[in-house]
């Protein structure tokens, strides 16, 4: 990720302290280590590993971090799905507000203004869907018998996501998953952008564990999530290699996971996403209720 203002933001020389012959102390800026985001906290990798991305230290997630993230996501899922749709919508709108207030930070990470606008709009768009998707994806069915027959969409559960590197791409895979009550484990490609987003999520009333973000090499962690029996769905949007994607799909078949495989890398996230990203991670529950006489 290119950085537009890294040199100016990293080291700020202090004001000269006095006469020229005295030693001038230069203030060292405090640099950020980009850590993982698991269960609402920012732990280092369990493995202790890091890597350098564009001059920043970033945690390199291990399979045990992925396992811990699934545990956190599973723990958070019933509470998040049980929150009212109105509440979830408000939380998503709050995220939009917080992204707005951190525009400079994303700009410093090289996110163009137009993409930032689109990102904020996307959060707002999905926030609006939280209490409307049930009416569109479900409803009352006419049946030949003395029954009320109602179909209601329910969240799939824990979704593992291999996310694209851009901010808009990242938000375009996280938002449709969580708006309906799923919780997520996200393998992020652009680490600084993803963890900056995590800092926003951590301060936006999103319950800990609803979104968990792991940085590092997804080729290392994704197979563990694909085969994990406690993961219900797998979104492969960010997987660029067809071979790896096929391998992950095979691993996911072992536990009958729902697998999303949109055109990786070629997806145009600026286009209207439609309902597909949301409905792909919903299960339909149909209830037959006898009519009273």
């Amino acid at each position: 990720m290119p950085k537009t203002s890294s040199s100016s933001s990293k080291v700020t020389p202090a004001e000269p302290a006095g006469p020229a012959e005295l030693p001038v102390s230069v203030r060292l800026s405090v640099r950020k280590t980009y850590k993982l985001y698991i269960g609402g906290k920012f732990p280092r990798s369990e493995s202790g590993r890091t890597f350098v991305a564009d001059g920043d230290n970033v945690a390199l997630a291990s399979r045990k971090d992925a396992r811990d993230a699934v545990v956190a996501a599973r723990a958070a899922q019933p509470g998040w799905a049980g929150a009212t749709a109105y509440n979830r919508g408000q939380v998503l709108y709050r995220i939009a507000e917080m992204v707005e207030s951190r525009r400079d930070e994303f700009a410093a990470l090289g996110v163009p203004a137009a993409e930032l606008d689109a990102t904020i709009d996307r959060w707002v768009w999905y926030a609006g869907w939280s209490d409307k998707i049930a009416q569109v994806a479900g409803g009352a069915n006419p049946v030949a018998g003395p029954f009320f027959n109602i179909s209601a969409p329910e969240p799939t559960g824990v979704v593992a996501i291999v996310a694209p590197a851009t901010l808009l791409g990242l938000v375009s895979v996280i938002a449709p998953a969580i708006v309906t009550g799923n919780t997520t484990v996200v393998l992020a490609a652009g680490p600084q952008i993803a963890i900056t987003l995590a800092e926003i999520l951590a301060t936006s009333d999103v319950p800990g564990g609803v979104v968990n973000i792991l940085t590092g090499k997804y080729a290392e962690t994704a197979p563990w999530l694909a085969a994990h029996a406690d993961v219900n769905a797998l979104d492969l949007t960010g997987v660029e290699h067809a071979e790896l994607a096929a391998e992950l799909e095979r691993a996911a078949a072992g536990t009958l996971k729902r697998v999303l495989r949109p055109d990786a890398g070629r997806a145009d996230f600026t286009a209207d996403p439609g309902l597909k990203p949301m409905t792909a991670l919903l299960e339909t529950k149909t209830v037959w209720h006898p009519k009273g006489y």
């Binding site: 029996a229 406690d230 691993a251």
Partner: protein, 309 residues
């Protein structure tokens, strides 16, 4: 062996207070250090199977029903129905009222049947009630009895009363094994844990057990370490081996393996056997099964694949 304590009652107090004090900082540091051991792959597989064989699968709820107890017994006999190579647990632990149901469900399985007794969990009842409780449990088919000591009497310094109660309950047990629950969370100090351990062993306990699982502080590694040292020293002195059972709060495989390391480093191989060491637990078994599945299948398992109770 029951009524013939190796020392007279008159010097019980001076005997217990003559035991060396426990170095609190030392025992906690030792337990923490042993908890850092890494046990992996084939060693882990063996440790998991041993831990499963050591589980006293427990349900002690007011809401226990015969159906729930039968389901628990089925699980104890064959913890993972999909995998016959998983060993049975050591015992099922229930309230006395549920013993007949459990006895029928466990018949012929080799799984022991433990019943809590003596006004579990508080122990605050007259001795006659406690003895009747014990006899009823044994008569109904329990071959292990988990009794609670009177912590009130112990803390008040009335060691003779606690001693006599254990002796009487041991007598009421007949051939059933007696596990004495010290409720270490209420004993306040490690010195008290050591004294209560010795008191129970001198009075004829077959097992000493940390907790009921009904108070805020349950089994911890340092407390179990103190108790393991007590059974080690007791055998060295009197030649009789006593078992140890930590109970309550042991929820995952990692914790269980820490206890196994603790046994190995404190009392050695002799206690690494379900006859001499037990875990009082309920949710632990599912985590052991999930870890076992992970090792055999190579992928992480999930709680959806195992029964809740």
């Amino acid at each position: 062996m029951t009524a013939t304590a190796p020392i007279g009652l008159s010097d019980l107090r001076s005997y217990l207070h003559g035991l060396p004090g426990v170095d609190k900082v030392g025992v906690e540091a030792r337990a923490a250090a042993l908890g850092t051991r890494s046990v992996k792959t084939s060693s882990k597989a063996k440790a998991i199977d041993l831990a499963i064989r050591m589980v006293d699968l427990t349900t002690l709820e007011g809401a226990d029903t015969p159906g729930k107890v039968r389901a628990l017994c089925a699980k104890g006999r064959r913890p993972d129905p999909a995998d016959p190579s998983v060993p049975s647990v050591a015992a099922i632990c229930v309230y006395p009222a549920m013993v007949p149901v459990a006895a029928a469900a466990l018949a012929g399985s080799g799984v022991h049947l433990a019943s809590v007794a003596t006004a579990f969990p508080s122990g605050q009842a007259p001795l006659e009630v406690k003895l009747a409780d014990t006899r009823a449990a044994v008569a109904a088919g329990a071959d292990e009895v988990d009794m609670v000591i009177s912590r009130g009497a112990f803390l008040a310094g009335d060691y003779a009363r606690v001693f006599d109660e254990i002796v009487a309950v041991k007598e009421a047990c007949g051939s059933a094994h007696l596990k004495v629950i010290l409720e270490t969370g209420e004993l306040a100090t490690y010195d008290n844990v050591r004294r209560a351990s010795w008191l129970a062993m001198l009075a004829g306990a077959d097992f000493i057990k940390t907790s009921t699982g009904k108070v805020a502080v349950n089994a911890t590694l340092p407390i179990t370490l103190v108790m393991l040292e007590a059974v080690r020293d007791f055998r060295a002195k009197f030649g009789r081996q006593i078992g140890v059972k930590p109970a309550g709060g042991i929820k995952n495989t990692k914790d269980a393996i820490k206890y196994l390391v603790l046994i190995n480093e404190t009392v050695g191989d002799d206690w690494l056997d379900p006859a001499w060491f037990r875990f009082g637990a309920s949710s632990l078994l599912n985590d052991l099964l999930m870890q076992r599945t992970k090792l055999t299948t190579g992928h992480y398992s999930g709680p959806d694949y195992f029964t809740l109770d």
